[in-house]
């Protein structure tokens, strides 16, 4: 018990550390702003939930709402749970260290899982509990509802935790076996993302088409019938809901208990048997590498740096997914988004806004892809010194990185453009004008992202040499990229009615050129001095 307590405290410390600050006043202001923002978002969430519950209650679909809500929150917890379990339990950086100490593997497991349980408890209390309370008040539930609520909350924590644990080990095995199959991994990721996204968009498209054709709302008789029928078969979420609202309470309670116990027991047994073995295999296999026989070849310093940068991304499943996979999948995503947006837009405003919508969607995906540039210096990690000792100017090194990011995004933009032109979504002149504008905005966003990282790199890389913490510059780049996309989209849609699409696109092209030149100058002026000042202790 004592060793468990020590390990748990160690786990907490390693995650949250001792957060001292050199500027206490600034820190207090930051905290106040942060708390105010969180409260604002939370108030909006509660208000939204209240409206939603009232709406479902009004149309006598409270039970269905409860089933759907429990199912969705369980799915979210399972989805994020698998990656969390893998990261925290199996691929935690300190596993190798802890294995050397005289502590049992079960103590390590419990200490690590406790953190995960803590997250689940916080999620359940902050996100789920208010919904259950609002539901209880709105639908006038009796004391038994509130008495059984803690049981359902515990089930809501244990169930996804167990499923995530059961799924994590096979996922670990597959990922270990495909570790050095870079092209295969990239292809599988691209296909999965593209297919998943296409399916998601086709479902939404189906709903939009259905509603358009049937001229019906979500709460029409037909839709309610479909939802009610579906809710009957969403196990075990429907049993949890029935338990609470008193419909077939004894049966639902017993079945819920049985299912949760089965999953929890299975997860405990599986982990007891395989946890230590899986960790040890993963530690042992972490050094597993590939052999690639090549010839010595001469490249220019620029070409060599370009190639090295590409290989570093391509040979990392993490970076490859974040950047290459998104770039390859972007045309499919843009096509689908555009199709949906166009069908909605045509209905309400008119076909004339389609090119502006296409541009907006294209820019959104450019922002997602190019946010990767915001870690271009930070990603060097321990190897940052090599960029300093290389007899190549910092400006050249940065320009090579820019060239890599822009060449990938430009190919992505061109493929997207050809796709939306060939499929007849957008006329050729507007499709290629949108591509030109997207390219200029890409230059601006990339320069902006790299400059942010040059100004404040964070070399927090993990044991595998990859960035281990979220980079603030990435979030800022994403935010700015999205803001530009929305502004451009709105300007195009409004501009088409004021001056026509040709003029609107000309204005946007002019603004984009200014943005690109401005961002490039911001990055390049004084770059040598700024880069020279970066110190990595």
């Amino acid at each position: 018990m004592k060793e468990l307590k020590t390990l748990f405290r160690l786990e907490l410390k390693s995650r949250f550390g001792n957060r001292g600050t050199a500027h206490p006043v600034r820190s207090v202001i930051k905290t106040i702003v942060f708390v105010a923002l969180v409260l604002l978002v939370y108030a909006a969430y509660i208000f939204g939930v209240k409206q939603l519950v009232s709406m479902f209650h009004l149309y006598e679909m409270s039970k269905e709402f409860l089933v759907l809500f429990i199912a969705v929150s369980q799915l979210i917890l399972v989805f994020f749970g698998i990656s969390s379990v893998i990261k925290n339990l199996f691929r935690s950086g300190d596993n190798e260290l802890l294995m050397r100490f005289p502590v049992s593997s079960s103590a390590v497991f419990v200490s690590k899982i406790s953190i995960f349980v803590l997250y689940q408890v916080v999620f359940t209390l902050v996100v789920e509990l208010p919904v259950f309370i609002i539901f209880g008040i709105t639908t006038g539930q009796g004391w038994s509802y509130y008495a059984l609520l803690p049981v359902v909350l515990i089930f809501s924590i244990v169930m996804p935790l167990s499923i995530a644990n059961l799924l994590a080990i096979p996922v670990m095995q597959i990922s270990s076996r495909t570790k050095n199959m870079f092209t295969l991994s990239l292809l599988v990721s691209v296909v999965m993302v593209a297919v998943g996204f296409a399916l998601y968009m086709s479902v939404i498209q189906g709903i939009v088409d259905y509603m358009k054709e049937e001229a019906m709302s979500f709460f029409s008789k037909e839709t309610m019938g479909i939802v009610a029928e579906a809710a009957k078969y969403i196990y075990p979420s429907n049993w949890f809901a029935y338990m609470l609202i008193g419909e077939w309470r004894v049966g639902a309670s017993l079945l819920s208990l049985l299912v949760v116990s089965l999953f929890a027991g299975g997860a405990i047994l599986l982990n007891k048997k395989l946890y230590l073995n899986t960790i040890l295999r993963d530690i042992e296999g972490s050094g597993a590498t590939f052999t690639k026989v090549t010839k010595n070849r001469v490249h220019s310093p620029a070409a060599a740096t370009f190639r090295r940068e590409f290989l570093e991304i391509f040979r990392s499943s993490n970076y490859s997914f974040q950047y290459l996979c998104m770039a390859v999948a972007a045309p499919v995503m843009v096509y689908n988004c555009n199709k949906l947006a166009a069908s909605m837009g045509e209905n309400s405003i008119g076909a004339v806004i389609v090119p502006a919508l296409a541009l907006m969607v294209m820019l959104v995906f450019c922002a997602i892809i190019l946010s990767f540039a915001a870690s271009s210096v930070s990603r060097e990690g321990e190897n940052f010194y090599l960029t300093k000792i290389a007899p190549v100017s910092y400006r050249t090194q940065i320009l090579i990185k820019l060239a890599l990011y822009l060449s990938v995004s430009t190919i992505s933009i061109l493929v997207t453009t050809i796709m939306i032109w060939v499929t007849g979504q957008v006329k050729v002149e507007f499709a290629f004008s949108a591509a030109g504008i997207a390219f200029l905005v890409s230059v601006a966003v990339t320069c902006f992202a790299v400059k942010l990282d040059v100004n404040r790199p964070q070399f927090a890389v993990g044991g595998d040499g990859e960035l281990s913490v979220g980079n603030l510059s990435t979030f800022v780049t994403l935010f700015v990229g999205f803001a530009i996309s929305v502004l451009y989209g709105l300007f195009g849609m409004v501009g088409v009615f004021l001056w026509g699409m040709t003029m609107a696109f000309c204005i946007l092209a002019g603004v984009s050129l200014l943005l690109a030149v401005g961002a490039a100058l911001w990055l390049l002026i004084g770059l040598e001095k700024r880069y020279e000042k970066i110190e990595q202790k």
Partner: protein
């Protein structure tokens, strides 16, 4: 009194060969880290000649690695001048860096590349022609006995193998100044002998080796000259070819650093 005498005697430029060309000149170097009030290097002056092995001794935190990082262009510095083979590090950093080969203390390399890819990448940066890089790479791979691993991904290399691939990459362009930060840490005896042999061969060809170490015994046996640094300040510059200096190096080092620690 004894300590002052050593300093005043030794900080004078007592070169083995007074007329030898300077490979590295450090003049009045001052370096302060961001948000730090004290100088990590304070008024350091050194002149390294072609053909010598120069040792850099000091306790942990004395400023050895910081000096090396300034010399190689990794860290900026506040005052003073660093000139490598006639190229000022501030005015002509590319010219200066072209003459340096650097082996870091943490053996960091691009681990996703294979050994051959990494060495070729570094050779490309320095513009080494194909015939030269092939000859050098094969020679060093053989010398360090890692030919078998050159086409494997570096991620799977042992500590010593990473150190060796770092050394090969640092020597692939035959630098005039070879800088090594704690090069012997974690190496097996045979690898240490190989590095020592290569250091000697490198200086015999008219180049300079500048390395930091905690190993006084190694420094006393291998180096032509040695600088002792403490709290960022040069405490002694000793020509080990002078009679009795090799034997007395340890006691001098202890005397200087212990006296300072007590003070």
């Amino acid at each position: 009194m004894e300590e002052k005498m050593i300093i005043s005697e030794s900080t004078e430029p007592t070169m083995k060969e007074e007329n030898a060309e300077s490979t590295l000149i450090i003049s009045h170097l001052k370096k302060r880290y961001l948000n730090s009030k004290r100088y990590s290097i304070n008024d350091l002056t050194l002149d390294l000649k072609a053909g010598e092995i120069f040792g850099f001794l000091g306790q942990n935190g004395a400023g050895k690695s910081t000096t090396i990082k300034c010399v190689t262009g990794i860290h900026p510095y506040d005052e003073g001048q660093i000139v490598v083979c006639g190229h000022d590090m501030k005015k002509d950093p590319i010219g200066a860096k072209k003459n340096i080969g650097y082996v870091p203390d943490n053996h960091s390399v691009y681990e996703k590349l294979t050994g051959r890819e990494y060495v070729n990448y570094i050779a490309d940066l320095y513009g080494v022609p194909l015939a030269e890089r092939e000859e050098r790479m094969n020679r060093y791979l053989k010398m360090f006995k890692i030919t078998f691993a050159v086409d494997r991904q570096i991620k799977g290399y042992s500590h010593g193998m990473k150190q060796k691939i770092c050394i090969i990459a640092a020597l692939i362009h035959a630098p005039r100044l070879w800088v090594l930060d704690e090069p012997m840490v974690g190496l097996d005896p045979q690898s240490m002998f190989d590095i020592i042999d290569e250091m000697k061969a490198h200086t015999a060809a008219g180049n300079t080796v500048f390395f930091s170490s905690h190993n006084i015994d190694l420094v006393s046996k291998l180096c032509d000259r040695v600088a002792i640094i403490h709290d960022g300040e040069l405490k002694a510059l000793i020509d080990l070819h002078e009679e009795g200096k090799r034997e007395s190096l340890e006691s001098v080092f202890r005397g200087l650093t212990m006296a300072e620690n007590k003070a």
